[in-house]
Symmetry: D2
Subunit: 356 residues, 4 copies
Amino acid sequence: MTSFPPAPARAFASDNAAAAHPSVLEAVLAANDGPALAYGDDEHTRECEARFRDLFGADVTTRLTFNGTGANIVALATLLGSLPGPNHAVVCTDWAHIAVDETGAPERALATKLIDLPSSGAKLVPEQLAELSHVQGVQHHAQPGVVSITQATELGTLYSADEIAALCDQAHSLGMLVHLDGARIANATAALGGTRAALRAMTVDAGVDAVSFGGTKNGLLGAEAVVFLSPAASVGSEYVRKQVTQLPSKMRFLAAQFNAILHDDLWIGLAAHANAMAMELHRLTSAINGVEMDGPPAVNSLFPQLPPDAIGPLRDWCFFWDWDVSRHQVRWMTAWDTTTDDIATFAQGVQLVVGG
Amino acid sequence: MTSFPPAPARAFASDNAAAAHPSVLEAVLAANDGPALAYGDDEHTRECEARFRDLFGADVTTRLTFNGTGANIVALATLLGSLPGPNHAVVCTDWAHIAVDETGAPERALATKLIDLPSSGAKLVPEQLAELSHVQGVQHHAQPGVVSITQATELGTLYSADEIAALCDQAHSLGMLVHLDGARIANATAALGGTRAALRAMTVDAGVDAVSFGGTKNGLLGAEAVVFLSPAASVGSEYVRKQVTQLPSKMRFLAAQFNAILHDDLWIGLAAHANAMAMELHRLTSAINGVEMDGPPAVNSLFPQLPPDAIGPLRDWCFFWDWDVSRHQVRWMTAWDTTTDDIATFAQGVQLVVGG
Amino acid sequence: MTSFPPAPARAFASDNAAAAHPSVLEAVLAANDGPALAYGDDEHTRECEARFRDLFGADVTTRLTFNGTGANIVALATLLGSLPGPNHAVVCTDWAHIAVDETGAPERALATKLIDLPSSGAKLVPEQLAELSHVQGVQHHAQPGVVSITQATELGTLYSADEIAALCDQAHSLGMLVHLDGARIANATAALGGTRAALRAMTVDAGVDAVSFGGTKNGLLGAEAVVFLSPAASVGSEYVRKQVTQLPSKMRFLAAQFNAILHDDLWIGLAAHANAMAMELHRLTSAINGVEMDGPPAVNSLFPQLPPDAIGPLRDWCFFWDWDVSRHQVRWMTAWDTTTDDIATFAQGVQLVVGG
Amino acid sequence: MTSFPPAPARAFASDNAAAAHPSVLEAVLAANDGPALAYGDDEHTRECEARFRDLFGADVTTRLTFNGTGANIVALATLLGSLPGPNHAVVCTDWAHIAVDETGAPERALATKLIDLPSSGAKLVPEQLAELSHVQGVQHHAQPGVVSITQATELGTLYSADEIAALCDQAHSLGMLVHLDGARIANATAALGGTRAALRAMTVDAGVDAVSFGGTKNGLLGAEAVVFLSPAASVGSEYVRKQVTQLPSKMRFLAAQFNAILHDDLWIGLAAHANAMAMELHRLTSAINGVEMDGPPAVNSLFPQLPPDAIGPLRDWCFFWDWDVSRHQVRWMTAWDTTTDDIATFAQGVQLVVGG
């Protein structure tokens, strides 16, 4: 039996297992300074909306929501609702969170088909959209209406801004709109330059119509923002949000959280740290005999294959989730609060149980 | 125990208990003359579409459907689908077939609220629509999107063409669209002049956006038509029809039925006869002691109140349905095939059991 | 122009305009003590579930949700999902929040009809349910499946525990289940004895199947709980919650809020205070000439009718919402943080602008 | 330019392009013999229900519907409605008509996910169902509830009765129910023995819960039947049928069609003929140089690959549909009314344009 050192203070289960950042809690406390009207008619929400306009442009519309599934559905339902005709289909990859990890919530709320295309690295290419044109105009087939891509993807890969722009061009030329599921858009932004310009390049400049802008995985207590990047894309979104149960009553407490991390681009810093920790974890474990892994991570997750016997003891010591049991593949995920000590200790454990 | 004469050959249960008109069956037989492509790509459907353009105008789009609930939902789903934003509500009366007699099919297929307003004689007035403006723009309330009226109504009453025009004006001024459930539009047409001009006055000229044009209750085996009265109103209706399970495969056999009754305005003649039979039934029974009834019927139904003890024996002899049990009110309905003999015999029975 | 004193620190807009209670924030801070697995696999959620079992009984299942609409839909969708057959209808009053104030969210998520019955004081009576039996078994009518009542009601009235038990008996005898929308169940509990026994008497003892247990209006940052009162009623509720977008990721931060107010029955104390403040407001304003109002409030809201000219100036000074504009009726609502000073000052203002 | 002989009287587009059988029309004419109550309360419908009980067993429940999509949705909605919990997913192949050719109607009516598994020859195997067990019990994944298989499949292949039994056993052991889309079940029955016993072996004896029993493609004007093979499977199906718009008003005219082909097992004879004609077409064309084709067909469709230049001229002469354009693959389909002359003439044309 392996004799492990004391486990890292923070395991590698998920970035949504991380705590909230202290400045987020301070902001919530500060927002609790007396009464404020509900449903967004308060100064914190107005500040938040202004901050998102600063980030993306004067024309954007921001709708705060509770969680990621809710954000995706507010975005998709609004975009689909702007298309005349039947319930249009949503196109995504076969790894998409909306297709795989949301219990059919999109099909229930949208009453429409998700066309999940096979993908390499959880990324779509424009040619796949072009091929959809053969079902357009045929009354027997679901009509594609919105493309939903994820950035960073569910596999920890990234689209370049140019790749997203090419997808948007293709989609728009077919009359389709584009949603970007950015549950980890901060990690993507950090990885692609770490600037607001990098964010804009892969969203508003690329032609994306609506973004699910993640917060919960990046140090919030729990809040997401749907940002509609043009006035046309946002029509009716306030009703849609209520209709799909995502209208927060005391909205100021969600807005304050975002205000805290949008201040001074803390959101980029937190994600950059998480990314760096994943890189460091890769550096310390990829050479261990018995650990099979791709090259350095693009963002904050690693998907190593381990010797079958090693997985149980290692996880009992420091928790992480399986990824693909049939291949003995697991997922190690870092977060804004992962420390170099956590990494070093964990790598030591991996060495003991796998490399030993 | 009353000693009745032989019962009428045709009872007064409903116009959908009537047989199909011989010319309808002849047309179906004639259409069965070899192969024809499915889903409407056939000469009978093309003829049918042309006949509806002759009837309503060059710009209309016709979608054949199987039944009345299907027609209503194809119409409503298409109109709602043309409105940007959330799932808009449908406004109707508290007597509306879509609200009362369709098992919640509209709510299921449309995933939206039906706002059923109180009504006098199953008719809406423009003021009721105007009052809806107070919920427009409030994110907590369902946003009215389509008004659905019934002509002739579920209570056998009629809107004048001017009344429909006023409703359409009010609806359109509020950004709403108008659907007319015309399961018995033939009876209404017959009652309001008996001409194609009368039909147009209360539909396309009045500003209605889509009509459910009934056939089954007017001598068909079973077919209805949704007629979209402007190109804008019909966008996507071919996909919507399939999506709500109303796309007929061997469509020629539905089209042929309509072609038979649209020829030489047989549809108006059949309905005029049904109306006349109801008038005759009113003439022969309204003066019978114990029969309480409103004045002469507008179309083909009577709603008499009878002595409680009379209802059972009378119905056992010649079937009809209850209407409001608490008031001892029943419904007598005539059809295209009701004869004056049927009427005379039935009136004799009423006299025996009620007036005796 | 009226010369008002400085406005009360807290207006009378709504109990969801109130701040969060300090102990709630302390609990959230304390819960932010390092990593914790997401989606409820954490000690705070386990404590919360245990606290609800203490409150209602060992057999109950608790599902935390984000907001009241979400809680209602998780409850209704789960109860409806347990009934075999078609999409059953939900029965409620014409004042019900689910029917009037949720933008058609129930119809969208449940794809079913809400049968909103006329009511006196926003309360149903068993006879209304009994009358629904005439549509049971008729294939043309939506089949009632769940009754949803609200306690305290949207009009600030209360059901007695016996009244709820009678409704439950009637519903169950017709094969229907019962949901209680308890957005203000704390205020009802405080008003009906202020004990846990009072809560149980009107819920689990009365035969209710599922409760939306409100928190947000009673001092939380934002959290509600759906409590299923029997194992049979809760089947599948964990999937339903995710499917209707109400599964919180960092659930510990919602659980901690409830743990704070469930401790030492703080939730009852907070609501009792809000109720008492409404009573005091009634005492100080009901006698003012020009204020028309019912007798003392049952819970924490007043619905006075005011002289038309008085409403604007009074609201500009200290905010409240209109209730029925046509009758010059407004709503004044107290909360857990309303003070006697707030009340005294506000009454002074009413006296100035109305009574003066 | 090829000099073709006169084209066959019947092309090879689809079995739903075929005419109706004379005995079907005679039956409809005979049913038009006066009034009959609507919605199935008539002697023809009662006879039809009895005929299906004769066919499948005393416990089955039959619901007539208008078309195949409607039949599938009545079946699926009823089976899903009998499962407690969330909106369960439907499992099918990636060739399934419900997944590919119904414009997303199932997702719209059922508000749930279709899990379309990769397949060989459009057939599922039990191992694929067994693998679904890894998502059961995980709240983030759609819970599989119903398996839908097609017999004969969309690719003209067949399951053996044993294969279906094995699928049913696996499905039931996982708590799932089984739907069989039998739009061409007559062709399958004819191919697997041509007896009622063969039908029962692959349905009720195999453990299938509900069958869409096709009629339209087998000589009817237009009618399908949903047959629930146990009382438990059919609960609420009468309401579901109305709710998804598939309740025929003058139902006798659908029932009469089925009565005609169920008499003396005409339905098997018609399908056997169609199958034989496909076999003959294969015999006459498979050896033609340039025609690439699998072995003899199981039922009534061939999927030949042709030289690209041959397809256009051949189709202009005698219509058929493309199948896979990228592979120059087309579909030739026979029907109950295809004649040996049609086959001989068509084979002559193929020889001229391809083999020449």
